[in-house]
Amino acid sequence: MSGTPILELRDFRYTYLEGTPKANEAVRGVSLEIQPGERVAIVGPTRSGKSTVVDSFAHLLRLKPGQVFFEGEDVAAPGYDRGALRRKVGIVFQQPETQIVEDVVGADVAFGPTSAGSPAEETRGRVEESLDGVGLPYRDFRLRYVYALSGGQRRRVAIAGVLAMRTPVLVLDEPTAGLDPRGRRELLDLLGRLADDRKLTLVVCSASLQDASLLCDRVVVLDEGRVVMDGPLREVLRRDEDLVRLDITLPEPIAAARELRHLFPDLPEDLTTEDDLERELVQRLGTP
């Protein structure tokens, strides 16, 4: 791939509480280029450094110059406009429903654009577009109380709040944790569709490859603050033994295929759907 990456980490290192006895080296030299329009999963076990990488994209850390770049610009350079960065990179943190700030749905989604100085009429349009986009129709939901919504609906309200900022980059940390199977499928479909329609760059951070396998085409695996794999989804999935050793949750079909390989040693490693696995088994069992 060529051109200026939209996000880039150059030998990014980060130590919490640096210089104290509790210093904790979370990221130990991560280099990563993300091109506009890419859909990248950042996957790793707990404490692999992935949340620190997410925080670096939002410039929520005391970054040193020369490590984190947005559209080729060093975000830690003196005078860099962090406000502008936050209007370009939208972040959906883990359990985003816990950071809903208003009682009423419409007001919460409007909070970001209003704070960023968007005029009332434009904000109204953004709120409508974002709520409709997450499947909570504006007309039915704008006046509903947040506390009377289900967990899945609150998650969507929080995501709508980030979408209303119309950022070209969307970073999501464990976006489907706690959602039921249908809610999870719908959210993944929604994110895929939004990424298509708005040509978004997506970064999905997770300890599981379940979601990543349905949403992303590139996977970066972190362990102990370093990149241990980076490549196309199917290539990474082929290294299932390494992934299991890292406590990374495999997609269900891949996990099942691992078990069934005791019987059928030649089952392929990159079966991402139940249909794929069924087809391969039927072939081996020889039924019509």
Binding site: R144, G152, G183, L250, L281, T287
Partner: protein, 286 residues
């Protein structure tokens, strides 16, 4: 035991209407039973947990825990009988060191010091936390924190332990290990366990599965019985473990898989038990 007779509960909305979260729910759970409760977001699972822990009270009908009605005047009795572990351990850990946090509940029951020390020691041991009993909470991993939260609940010596999606923020291998620990505790301590989850593979590890939809219990039975109803579950936004669904697909193609198939290991076993001649001869199978 836990008994619910015609329990209804409604939340108020902004427009003044009441949104029913539980509708005329009848349910009974024996002491010592291990039950998984599944249902989509908004099906009433969390409201049920709030009623069983005396955080909310039924709008209609009656809920009883060991015969004690869930009403405001009984809230402390109920909370001694039922302990709950939430999704995010940070929501319920209150002290800065592991052992202090586990001791917090028993201390508030006003128990003698010796008994508190004994309960804490046993709870730490049950969750494998002895070696980190003096560790600051902030140094723990998410999986360790969730163990501390469970140890804290256990130290209350409840009749029922409710786990409200405690694994949804953990990687699947850690979640499975945690469920195994809880099952061992159930065997040793004899307390009932209610596990609220969105993970169908986890639900399959329990003795009974209750499926909630629209504030009602719409199915109840063994995991094998419930997960056989693939289409009905998908209609209400749920799923079944992949092995169960795949087994059903293969059976419908005439492959005679025997037994209950809920896990990948079950599927492997059933496939390896197929005799030659059970399926057309050109098989390149085992």
């Amino acid at each position: 035991m836990i008994e619910l007779d015609g329990v209804s509960f409604a939340y108020r909305t902004g427009e003044g209407d009441a949104v029913p979260a539980l509708r005329d729910l009848d349910l009974s759970i024996e002491s010592g039973e291990r039950v998984a409760i599944i249902g989509h977001n908004g099906s009433g699972k969390s409201t049920l947990v709030k009623l069983l822990t005396a955080i909310q009270y039924p709008t209609e009908g009656e809920a009883r825990i060991d015969g004690v009605p869930v009403r405001e005047e009984n809230q402390w009795t109920i909370r001694e009988k039922v302990a709950v572990v939430f999704q995010d351990p940070d929501d319920q850990i209150v002290m800065t060191r592991v052992a202090d946090d586990v001791a917090f509940g028993p201390e508030n029951l006003g128990l003698p010091r010796d008994e508190i020390a004994e309960r804490v020691a046993l709870a730490l041991e049950a969750l494998g936390l002895e070696s980190i009993s003096e560790t600051p909470i902030e140094d723990l991993s998410p999986g360790q924190k969730q163990r501390v939260a469970i140890a804290g609940a256990l130290a209350m010596r409840p009749r029922f332990l409710i786990l409200d999606e405690p694994t949804s923020l953990l990687p699947a291998p850690l979640a499975t290990r945690l469920i195994q620990t809880v099952k061992d505790l159930n065997r040793r301590e004899g307390m009932g366990v209610l596990h609220v989850t969105h993970s169908m593979p986890e639900a399959a590890l329990f003795d009974r599965v209750i499926v909630m939809d629209e504030g009602r219990a719409v199915m109840t039975g063994t995991p094998a019985g419930v997960f056989r109803r693939v289409d009905e579950l998908r209609d209400i936004g749920l799923d079944v473990p992949l092995a169960a669904s795949l087994a059903q697909r293969l059976r419908s193609r005439g492959i005679p898989l025997k037994g209950d198939i809920l896990t990948d290991a079950d599927l492997r076993e059933a496939l390896s038990a197929l005799a030659p001649g059970d399926y057309p001869a050109e098989a390149s199978g085992p």
